[in-house]
């Protein structure tokens, strides 16, 4: 079929589906769903850069989303006066100073081979310096954390505009991605998957337990919005305004990505993805280009994640469940069509709508199964049947991934291969 006809058909079907949900569940619900779907679409655009353009494997999406969301909270949450008037900032400053001095000494020692220190001694000295730095910083941070938690709860934010928080969130996610990429990009592809999985777990553990910084499981809310809140405008109007913001972001990102994709840079990236050896033979620095891709992708993922968490108005570190969300986004990208920006957006919207609707469907199915089982076999259903029913969705995500990869590896909207005759 003609690709543009196919696009038009698929999007028309999607619009019909969304219109049906609007008619069924009301505008407030429909707009909320669309905003969340659009945030997922931004994240999916970031992932399609990494997976579709560069073939990089990021299973730590939720870690990057969480760190970006936390940065947004730190930048844009109102200032906590109790914290700033107490001893907390002073103590944190001391810990930061110790950290800076320690890192400087460690770095100097790691370079000490240049003044003739033997290599073994250098390594030993560096490790000792790093350990001492770590213990010293921890020793200073602990009392500071206890004090802040007792007196001020947590350190609060800087009260800056929300868009600054989003941008900063994207930058921090990008930096984390840079560090991960530096370590794993030269090695076999699986290592990056393992490392990103690990970093996501660590980011989550840190955000959950560093109460002085994030309030941990007590959660931070309400997060400030970039547009007037529902209390001022009503649900539909304020959510529509939010949707306008995310839609503009998607359009801008889409245009920029399409431009990049059709530029010489994009051509180089495709060359690297499709034939690494010949690209290297042409003198392209493969790992460096991949690092670029990974960082840009993470920046966009962070941006989308920050927008998503801001919309939910609550920052809850334990809500970043890797199972559901990370792989939900993966399904969006591979089902929509890896390497096709429009496909990523389409996949995100479609999959999110199905995901949201699958909860009532799963519960409906299981309630019926329960009644049927009771009538036919006298089967007594376990009490936690509903929570178990929702686990079924995890199974469906996994099944979709394996089936799509096997039978339709190109997705619904395949990548458009440009041919030069």
């Amino acid at each position: 079929m003609n690709p543009s006809l196919r696009e038009a058909g698929l999007f028309a079907g999607l619009i019909l589906l969304v219109a049906g949900i609007f008619a069924w569940l009301g505008a407030a619900y429909g707009v909320r769903m669309l905003v969340e779907a659009s945030c997922y679409a931004i994240i999916a655009l970031g992932l399609t850069i990494q997976w579709g353009y560069a073939g990089l494997f990021n299973v730590g999406l939720m870690g990057f989303v969480a760190i970006a969301a936390f940065t947004t909270v730190l930048i844009s949450y109102p200032v906590n006066d109790v914290f700033w008037s107490g001893d907390g900032p002073w103590m944190l400053g001391q810990a930061a100073l110790t950290l800076a001095i320690g890192v400087a000494i460690t770095l100097l020692l790691s370079r000490s081979t240049r003044i003739g220190v033997p290599k073994g001694l250098r390594t030993a000295l560096t490790l000792v310096a790093a350990a001492i730095t770590y213990l010293a910083v921890q020793g200073q941070l602990d009392p500071a954390a206890t004090l802040i938690e007792r007196e001020a709860g947590f350190i609060g934010g800087f009260g800056l505009p929300v868009w600054m928080g989003w941008a900063a969130g994207g930058v921090v996610a990008g930096l984390l991605g840079w560090a991960m990429g530096r370590i794993t990009l030269g090695l076999r592809a699986d290592y990056m998957a393992i490392a990103t999985l690990g970093i996501a777990e660590i980011v989550k553990a840190f955000l959950k337990n560093a109460d002085w910084l994030t309030r941990g499981t007590l959660t931070v809310s309400p997060l400030p919005w970039p547009v007037p809140t529902p209390q001022e405008l009503g649900f539909v109007a304020s959510r529509s305004a939010y949707l306008a913001v995310t839609a503009v972001m998607i359009v801008v990102l889409y245009v920029l990505l399409e431009r990049a994709w059709h530029s010489p840079w994009g051509r180089m990236m495709r060359a690297i993805r499709d034939n690494e050896v010949s690209a290297a033979a042409m003198g392209k620095d493969i790992n460096r280009r991949r690092l670029e891709m990974f960082v840009v992708g993470n920046f966009i993922i962070g941006l989308g994640g920050a927008a998503l968490i801001t919309f939910t108005t609550i920052f809850d570190p334990s809500s970043f469940a890797p199972l559901n969300h990370t792989f939900l986004i993966w399904v969006m990208v591979i089902l929509g069509g890896a390497g096709n920006n429009l496909g990523a957006i389409f996949g995100a919207l479609l999959v999110y709508v199905i995901w949201i609707m699958s909860e009532p469907v799963a519960i409906f199915l299981f309630t019926n199964a329960e009644q049927l089982g009771e009538r036919l076999f006298g089967w007594e259903a376990p009490a936690d049947l509903y929570t178990r029913a929702l686990q079924m969705r995890v199974f469906v995500i996994g099944l979709t991934i394996t089936l799509v990869l096997r039978f339709a590896p190109k997705g619904l909207l395949p990548e458009k291969v440009v041919k030069y005759d």
Partner: protein
């Protein structure tokens, strides 16, 4: 007697505490990691992808043992060992067949169509999600005991002056199983035709194929071994603590770390790596103040001993395998035993 005098100075209480908390605990968790990592490293070496569902395979094996326990509750009492342990060989066989079945259904078609290794990893993640979904659907999310009421959990206390060295029955069974598994695997890989074929495929698949080794047989054997060892590890871990359906994420990262530290494709390396990761975890969360306190009289005045002096707070335990992994990837990507880094 001078020896007795020396012993009196030694802080036996604290040393035994150290043995309990670090050496024994490290051996236990290290053995579990090792049993998992052997399978991961074999799959890594022969099929060339990171097998993410391995943690869930361990859980699945433990659940098979649980189902067997419900079906034949009286077996253990007849032998005098916990029922689940007596039935473990059956659970291992069932899980091994499950592993081969998963390969038939999901991995082999991908392999035949010659996809990139990254796509295989993605498929394995899809399988991981399916297994997790099914496990939680059938088992719920609560924890269970793999010890039946009729089994009693023997606890051995070895007096060492002051505190006792504590070791439990499932822990002894875990050590015994690990040792037997390691020896058996060694014999298999070095003495049997199939073991030699597996090593050949791991070293150079093309050369192995042209020398007439059947890749299909090798792959099937790999899955059988990996599945059986995963079931053993999962069952023994569940016997020692409890059976949790959502174990997988917490265990897959240390297992990968162990496999990579040991060198990908090196079974002995995986065992060493598993123990290394296990000991690092227990050493990192150990409270060193306990050992420093008896030395108080010999230390200068200005050093104060904090109440808690651990390298890593217990909440951040997952950080330890991750940092080992990163350190190895930076300084020695081939691992301790020279594994393969490229595809």
């Amino acid at each position: 007697m001078p020896e007795a005098g020396l012993l009196a100075i030694l802080p036996m209480n604290e040393l035994v505490f150290f043995l309990n908390k670090v050496v024994i605990a490290g051996l236990i968790i290290g053995s579990v990691y090792a049993l998992g990592a052997v399978g991961v490293t074999l799959i890594f070496g022969i099929l060339r992808f990171a097998h993410f569902p391995h943690g869930d395979m361990m859980t699945a094996g433990a659940f098979v043992a649980l189902v067997l326990l419900w079906m034949f509750p009286g077996v253990g009492a007849a032998v005098g060992l916990p029922t689940a342990f007596v039935l473990m060989p059956i659970a291992m066989a069932v899980t091994a067949l499950l592993a081969v079945g998963l390969d038939r259904m999901f991995y082999r078609p991908m392999r035949k169509s010659g996809v990139k290794p990254v796509v295989m990893v993605m498929t394995s993640i899809g399988v991981m999600l399916m297994m997790q979904g099914l496990l939680r659907l059938f088992a719920g999310t609560g924890t269970r005991q793999l010890y039946a009421d009729t089994d009693d959990k023997d606890i051995y206390r070895i007096p060492l002056g002051g505190r006792d060295l504590v070791i439990t029955e499932p822990q002894l069974m875990l050590f015994a199983t690990t040792i037997v598994a390691v020896v058996a695997l060694h014999m298999f890989l070095t003495r049997s035709r199939m073991g030699k074929a597996m090593r050949a495929v791991s070293d150079n698949p093309d050369l192995a194929r042209v020398s007439g080794i059947s890749i299909d047989h090798v792959v099937r054997t790999t899955w059988l071994i990996a599945g059986a060892l995963a079931a053993a590890g999962g069952t023994l871990l569940a016997l020692d603590v409890t059976l949790k359906p959502d174990l997988s994420y917490n265990i897959i990262l240390p297992i990968f770390a162990a496999a990579i530290v040991g060198g990908v494709g090196q079974p002995y390396g995986a065992i060493a790596g598993g123990l290394l990761v296990g000991f690092s975890e227990t050493l990192a969360v150990f409270n060193w103040s306990v050992l420093l306190r008896p030395m108080r009289p010999y230390l200068p005045e200005f050093i104060e001993i904090p109440a808690k002096l651990a390298f890593v707070p217990t909440e951040y335990k997952i950080v330890v395998p991750f940092f080992i992994l990163i350190a190895v990837l930076i300084w020695r990507p081939t691992g301790l035993f020279k594994g393969r880094v490229n595809n």
